[in-house]
């Protein structure tokens, strides 16, 4: 793992050079908030954000994605033949991924790339995308990344981690993909010494010290599924929930989708769209039966999935990276930190929280 020092004076020049090789994506101020967008020629990523409003998951996993196409025109030989859509996957580089969001890609990968099933759409985009992170020098009050198994300087899932050190960036290169990008950028090829690692460590300590949001996850595993499932606190925590899709759509780790056919004239496509376990139709059976027919059941599902089923299935922490988006954007202030505490501290004989 090499560390390179990039003088900020050469930053724009390097971005321009990379634009010759790759499609560049980065945070851009868009109205009142920041969004990941394709960078125009001459445009640089805007690193003054705390984080983007929506997570970068849609870069690899678009909200709406066409998978197949077909024709209903019976005069055609290929009528009713479902054909994979032809998409050109040109290499792209995403700048400004926060460490929490980077870790989220690894969590989502668990769903889209397993020994049994490989989702070609997600994998192709993931493989042709390089992720360049930006360490968080000033985490927010709703960031609980450290307790969620990440951290403001964590580089898991990143090809390069950038650390803003005032006049320059330190770039920690993690992968061959990252090395190639640095070479193409022409920023610098000089490997830094131990001093750089020390400077980074100091910044990291300062950032971690700023984190005030904590959650406890240590006892989730030992809890019984039926105990948590039947816990009395769900009615109280779910009361305010309006069952909108905000938490799931802004979440970098929510991966569920719904498959739809759309036909115009005789041309049809089969596409997938993000879905949300908050929606009543999410589990509506063909028979008309709905096992999650009330909002309390749907809210419980979201948190049981993230904080219990996932924990039990993968034995690798919770399905949450602590980015805090759902806390900040929930219209009615449902707070995953509170729910996680209730679950982690729950004793079956307890009557209420």
């Amino acid at each position: 793992m090499n560390v390179i020092k990039i003088d900020k004076k050469t930053w724009t020049e390097g971005i321009g050079r990379l634009q010759g090789f790759y499609r560049l994506i980065g945070p851009v101020k868009d109205g009142d908030f920041y969004q990941f967008k394709a960078l125009e020629k001459g445009e640089s990523p805007d690193f003054s954000m705390l984080n983007t409003r929506l997570s970068p998951k849609s870069i690899i996993y678009p909200q709406s994605e066409v998978m197949f196409e077909y024709s209903l025109d019976e005069t055609r030989d290929d009528c009713h033949v479902i054909k994979e859509i032809q998409v050109e996957y040109s290499p792209q580089v995403v700048f400004g991924i926060r460490p929490c969001d980077a870790k989220a890609f690894l969590l989502v990968q668990r769903n889209f790339e397993t020994p049994e099933y490989k989702d070609p759409y997600w994998i192709r985009l993931y493989e042709t995308t390089a992720l360049i992170g930006l360490a968080c020098n000033t985490p927010c009050s709703t960031c609980f990344c450290v307790d969620a198994g990440s951290g403001p300087f964590n580089d898991a899932g990143l090809d390069i981690l950038l650390i803003d050190a005032g006049e320059y960036y330190y770039a920690r290169v993690n992968t061959a993909k990252g090395e190639k990008i640095l070479k193409d950028s022409g920023w610098s090829e000089e490997t830094e010494t131990k001093d750089a690692e020390l400077a980074i460590e100091n910044l990291k300590q300062a950032a971690e010290n700023r984190i005030t949001a904590r959650i406890s996850t240590d006892r989730l595993k030992e809890k019984g599924v039926p105990d948590l499932f039947n816990a009395p606190f769900w009615e109280d925590v779910a009361f305010a929930c309006i069952n909108c899709g905000t938490c799931t759509y802004v979440c970098p780790t929510c991966w569920c989708f719904d498959i739809q056919d759309e036909v115009r004239g005789t041309d049809g496509v089969r596409m997938r769209n993000w879905d949300s376990c908050m929606y009543p139709l999410f589990t509506l059976h063909g028979s008309g039966h709905n096992p999650r027919d009330a909002k309390t059941k749907r809210l419980r599902q979201r948190f049981m999935h993230k904080l219990k089923y996932y924990v039990d299935k993968y034995n690798d922490g919770i399905q949450c990276v602590g980015c805090g988006r759902c806390i900040n954007l929930c219209p009615v202030n449902i707070d995953i930190r509170k729910i996680c505490e209730a679950m982690n501290g729950f004793e079956p004989e307890q009557k209420s929280i």
């Binding site: 309006i242 069952n243 596409m271």
Partner: protein
């Protein structure tokens, strides 16, 4: 309005202890600045959890729909108007309710403040007619009237129109309010300009349906955007489908919307969705001299027939 707290808790405690209601629906303190969480209280000893300040913008009527028990509910002007609409539309019975009316001076617009504050907001404090916001080592002070929700700035029904208890003396209603200036501006646009305006308005929509789900008017068992047999609207991010959702939802609210502002408050993307409902509110006022949720005895204009309808089609 901070002084309301004691009175609200006192009334809630009383009606719970006397067995007049089984639950009281109100707000408890949020975990972040500028947001409180709707909650219910079952036991008189828990009423201290109830709070009231300028961050109670979500319309609590949404939590009444088809509940069966006897309920105490805290209602500001707009909530009370939606309670009337709910009663008219058979979503709750008047006899089930003890309405704790709250004269309201407006709710703070959290989007407005956040968009004018560069750092993360850590604390928001009301101080007389000022609001003091701190975070990231900076402090900013606004006049309260400059950072209220847009619907509160033009509100003409700050006092509850129906209540059983009132937590304070009624506040003065705002007079000579220019409610529809923004709508008139849009009405004057050419069709092409309007199309562009609506494209921009809805460009950031992620179809989370927070605007719909937070709305007390949207209680259909299956919304037309969710139905799949038949399917009326595509489910993707196609802008036509997104527009269809927003336009049709607004039409469904025509003559029923009280401009409580919950939809705009709830939108995670800060879309000014009231732009659509307000146009229909304006039409209902101008065509039928109708304001929603004022009178328990009158049905909304779109559910009635009037031989003097201003439109020839219906005469």
């Amino acid at each position: 309005m901070l002084s309301y707290n004691e009175k609200i808790r006192h009334i809630a405690k009383k009606i719970l202890a006397e067995g007049k209601v089984e639950i009281v629906i109100g707000y408890r303190r949020g975990t972040l600045p500028m947001i409180n969480e709707p909650c219910f209280i079952k036991h008189p000893e828990d009423v201290t959890r109830l709070i009231w300040d300028r961050h109670c913008g979500i319309n609590l009527t949404n939590y009444l729909t088809q509940r069966k028990e006897r309920i105490g509910i805290i209602a500001k002007g707009c909530d009370s108007r939606n309670i009337i609409t709910h009663i008219i539309e058979n979503k709750i019975k008047r006899e089930q309710l003890v309405i704790i009316g709250v004269p309201c001076k407006g709710m703070i617009d959290r989007h407005k403040i956040a968009s004018q504050f560069e750092e993360e907001i850590q604390k928001v404090k009301e101080d007389g007619d000022k609001i003091v916001v701190t975070g990231g080592g900076i402090e900013k002070i606004w006049k309260l009237s400059d950072v209220l929700q847009e619907n509160c700035i033009i509100c003409t029904h700050r006092n509850p129109v129906i209540y059983d208890e009132l937590v304070a003396e009624p506040v003065a209603e705002q007079k000579d309010v220019n409610r529809y200036e923004d709508i008139r501006r849009i009405e004057r646009l050419s069709p092409a300009e309007k199309a562009e305006f609506f494209d921009d308005l809805l460009a950031s929509c992620i179809r989370c349906y927070a605007c719909r789900n937070v709305c007390p008017l949207c209680y259909c068992d299956t919304c037309f955007v969710d139905g799949s047999q038949p399917q009326w609207v595509g489910k993707s991010q196609d802008p036509t489908d997104i527009r269809t959702f927003h336009f049709l939802r607004a039409f469904h609210c025509a003559g029923r919307c009280t401009d409580c502002g919950s939809c705009e408050r709830a939108c995670p993307m800060g879309i000014k969705v009231r732009t659509l409902t307000k146009k229909l509110e304006k039409d209902c006022l101008e065509l039928f001299n109708w304001e929603a949720g004022i009178d328990l005895e009158q049905r909304p204009p779109l559910t009635t027939y009037n031989p003097n309808d201003p439109d020839d089609t219906f005469r």
